[in-house]
């Protein structure tokens, strides 16, 4: 009962924060609100017992994302532009998509249902066998790094690619700058 109330309160605060982010126009205020949004999300993950996910959300949301938002604002501008065309059609599309998604959730099994497909496929195998096979107390780590090692390798490759992309676009590395200068001289 108490858990339900905590979830409801956290979700309502989350929705209010999201609405405020949509409504506000000052980007600095939005950055602060986005930080609070991530705090609320981490709290929700904690109440849902997803401690590892909450850890990630805490580490990224509290420290890094604020800094990166600010860096982006410093390189662009600090106010948002007014929309150039009326946005009723996108709003309708969003509402329709959201309604379809909500309708789709009606078919999903309840939260924590033992008969749900996610609980009967490979989950029980991981939970029962990882003590024997891997002998690591935190099953999340054993799934991430061993059973699903390929997926995690892909994740690391994604992080690597994203980092390289950011470096190519905005950093002032020497090779990149030289080519830019040459292009300017050519044109």
């Amino acid at each position: 009962m108490a858990e339900t109330i905590i979830n409801v309160v956290l979700f309502s605060m989350l929705v209010m924060t999201a609405l405020a982010i949509v409504r506000l126009e000052r980007l600095f205020a939005i950055v602060m609100l986005a930080g609070v949004f991530s705090l609320l999300t981490a709290m929700l993950f904690v109440t849902l017992d997803a401690v590892d996910v909450a850890f990630t959300e805490a580490a990224v949301g509290a420290g890094i994302s604020t800094v990166l938002y600010l860096g982006t604002i410093a390189l662009t501008s600090r106010g948002c532009k007014p929309p150039s065309r009326p946005n009723t059609v996108p709003l309708l599309v969003c509402i329709a998509t959201g309604a379809v998604l909500v309708w789709g959730t009606l078919d999903m099994p309840n939260f924590g249902d033992a008969e749900a497909p996610a609980q009967v496929h490979v989950g029980p195998y991981y939970l029962t066998e990882s003590v024997e096979e891997i002998d690591v107390p935190n099953v999340v780590t054993s799934i991430l790094a061993s059973y699903r090692g390929f997926d995690t390798l892909g994740e690391v490759a994604v992080v690597f690619t994203a980092g390289i992309g950011v470096l190519l676009i905005i950093s002032q590395m020497r090779g990149w700058g030289r080519r830019e200068e040459e292009e300017e001289e050519d044109s």
Binding site: L75, R78, S146, T152
Partner: protein, 146 residues
């Protein structure tokens, strides 16, 4: 921030514990929540905090940009290297059996440790490199824009 004595002292006090906690999360990740990704972000935050308070030049004297750029690639190399090493030892790719052939679960444990270290190195490198890239550019905004 040359005049902020309080901030400088507190930052010096905090950077060590943050890195220490990051290492705890990294190497204790198989017993408690956490792992390479979280640890990488935490360690990066320590350097970012130092860079914010003491300036980009000070943090780049401690951790030069070229080292960070090498770290980004090194992590992926460690991760994939563990897999390839196992292939050469006669196991499947990313099956950590080669670390301790006689005792499979020990091998798994060691393999997870190495793989998580690779993840941590890449994430640390990427986060710090992005911060260097953002902070190294002069701000575009004019004074009227402010």
């Amino acid at each position: 921030m040359r005049h902020h004595l309080i901030l400088r002292v507190i930052t010096k006090l905090l950077v060590g514990p943050i890195i220490l906690y990051g290492l705890y999360v990294q190497f204790h990740g198989d017993f408690s929540p956490g792992g390479g990704f979280q640890a990488g972000v935490i360690i990066a935050v320590a350097f970012i905090l130092y860079g914010i308070v003491f300036g980009l030049r000070a943090v780049q004297a401690a951790l030069p940009a070229w080292i960070v750029h090498r770290l980004v690639a090194l992590g992926v190399l460690v991760y994939a290297g563990v897999g390839v090493l196992n292939m050469f030892a006669g196991y499947e790719f990313l099956n950590y059996g080669a670390f301790d052939p006689g005792h499979p679960s020990h091998g798994q444990h060691l393999g997870i440790l190495w793989v998580e270290a690779g993840v941590g190195i890449t994430v640390t490198g990427v986060m710090i490199a992005i911060f260097y890239a953002f902070a190294g550019r002069p701000p575009r905004m004019g004074d009227d824009d402010w």
